[in-house]
């Protein structure tokens, strides 16, 4: 009898969990898009820690890395990996610096198509501009906690790396809580943001590498 009760409780709780986490398609996303746009307009800065999980189908465990992320509207991004390796990307307008742990290299995104794509993608995600981009088709879903935007690249270059990008917006403040980038295989990259602080002062020096 005890076993049956336990099983019933387990099934109920699992179903309950699944229901709160299952995403349903938003048929008319205009209101959601409006909220996301307002939130991104009101977000002048973001300062957050992040955890990255690289899932490769051949690996038993994901490759985990952690770091710190800063954004200042409209076009300044600092993306810094701290563990288990150090790697830094700073974007400031058309300037981009990459430090691979030993050397810093400066790029002009105007003359480097690949870096321009990365720059546009990152800034676009944070400002919500990506949701209006003609490079992706977008669909919206929701569950209790998140709005999920599924973006599928329309063109070849992006499709090489991404089959789909999923942006999870927190329903509390409509800011990006996690990003999942799916590849054509079963592999993906998941980035989760935590300790998020909005509209705090971020000095210029954070977005320049000397």
């Amino acid at each position: 009898m005890k076993i049956i009760t336990t099983l019933i409780i387990l099934v109920i709780s699992t179903t309950g969990f699944a229901q709160t986490n299952t995403f349903k398609k938003i048929i008319n996303p205009a209101a959601v898009v409006q909220k996301l746009n307002t939130a991104s307009k009101n977000t002048k800065t973001i300062d957050s820690d992040f955890k990255q999980f690289k899932h490769l189908d051949i690996l038993e465990n994901d490759i985990e890395s952690t770091g710190h992320f800063s954004f200042r509207a409209t076009d300044k991004v600092r993306w810094e990996y701290l563990q288990p390796y150090s790697y830094l990307i700073v974007m400031n307008g058309s300037n981009m610096w990459i430090n691979d742990g030993s050397k810093t290299k400066k790029y002009d995104t105007k003359s480097n198509q690949m870096f321009k794509e990365i720059n546009d993608l990152m800034v676009g995600m944070l400002q919500g501009k990506i949701l209006k981009s003609d490079k992706f088709t977008v669909e919206f879903f929701e569950n209790k906690k998140h709005i999920l935007a599924k973006l599928k690249p329309k063109f070849g270059e992006m499709q090489e790396f991404l089959s789909e990008m999923q942006l999870f917006f927190d329903k509390k403040d409509y800011t990006v809580a996690k990003i999942k980038m799916l590849e054509n295989s079963e592999d993906y990259t998941l980035i989760e943001f935590y300790n998020r602080k909005m509209n705090v002062d971020l000095p210029n020096s954070k977005f320049i590498v000397k």
Binding site: I58, Y85, S102
Partner: protein, 210 residues
């Protein structure tokens, strides 16, 4: 007359080249003497099902790539995946006993010469060209013993105590053209692997993460 002269000139050149080759080969071999006992040398990163992640820097002519190399020993061979720090996959190659399979390769890297080089280098690093019938030689006055595969012009050096590889060379006709080093072993895992080519501007440095 002219034709005969050319013919004999060519023959002389061929004979000179053969003599040089034989001399060169005997010079390489004379550095060694046969081992007095059988050394049960070890291959590295070869535990089936286990994966190894290395922070990697690749220098190819004037291009530098940094990222993570994942090496996984599978039943039939090794899977080698190279991704950058933010998770973008550059290549995913499976090394098989006498061939290889490309699961994914970033378009700008999809060059026959580069793929051949990567396959050859990883087979070299993983000692995949050493078969059991290979001739074993011992280096004179050294703490290491050396092993020379029969067909390929490679020489591997092993530590006599740990029986793990410490360095290796690939020879072209005239000189050593590829230098491979295994450093800072922890258990049976080299914490650092470097490989450098002399005839092409190609080098890799792998630092163990997990």
């Amino acid at each position: 007359m002219d034709k005969n002269y050319k013919h004999s000139d060519l023959t002389k050149k061929i004979i000179a080249a053969v003599i040089f080759l034989l001399f060169f080969q005997s010079c390489v071999i004379s550095e060694f003497k046969p081992v007095s006992k059988t050394y049960d040398y070890k291959k590295i990163l070869s535990e089936t099902g286990k994966s190894y992640v290395y922070r990697t820097r690749i220098h190819l002519y004037d291009n530098n790539f940094s990222g993570l190399i994942v090496i996984k020993r599978q039943e039939k061979g090794h899977r080698i995946v190279f991704l950058n720090e933010i998770g973008m996959k550059f290549f995913d190659i499976e090394l098989l006993p006498d061939s290889y399979k490309i699961h994914h390769i970033f378009k700008p890297m999809n060059k026959k010469m580069l793929i051949k080089l990567l396959v050859s280098d990883f087979n070299f690093i993983l000692l995949n060209d050493i078969k059991s019938e290979n001739k074993i030689l011992q280096e004179k006055k050294s703490e290491e013993f050396a092993l020379k595969p029969k067909i390929v012009k490679d020489i591997y050096y092993f530590d006599k105590n740990s029986l793990l590889p410490t360095k290796a060379f690939k020879y072209s006709v005239f000189r050593k053209n590829t230098f491979l080093n295994y450093k800072n072993y922890k258990d049976v895992i080299p914490q650092k692997i470097t490989i450098k080519h002399k005839n092409i501007k190609f080098a890799m440095e792998l630092n163990f993460i997990k």
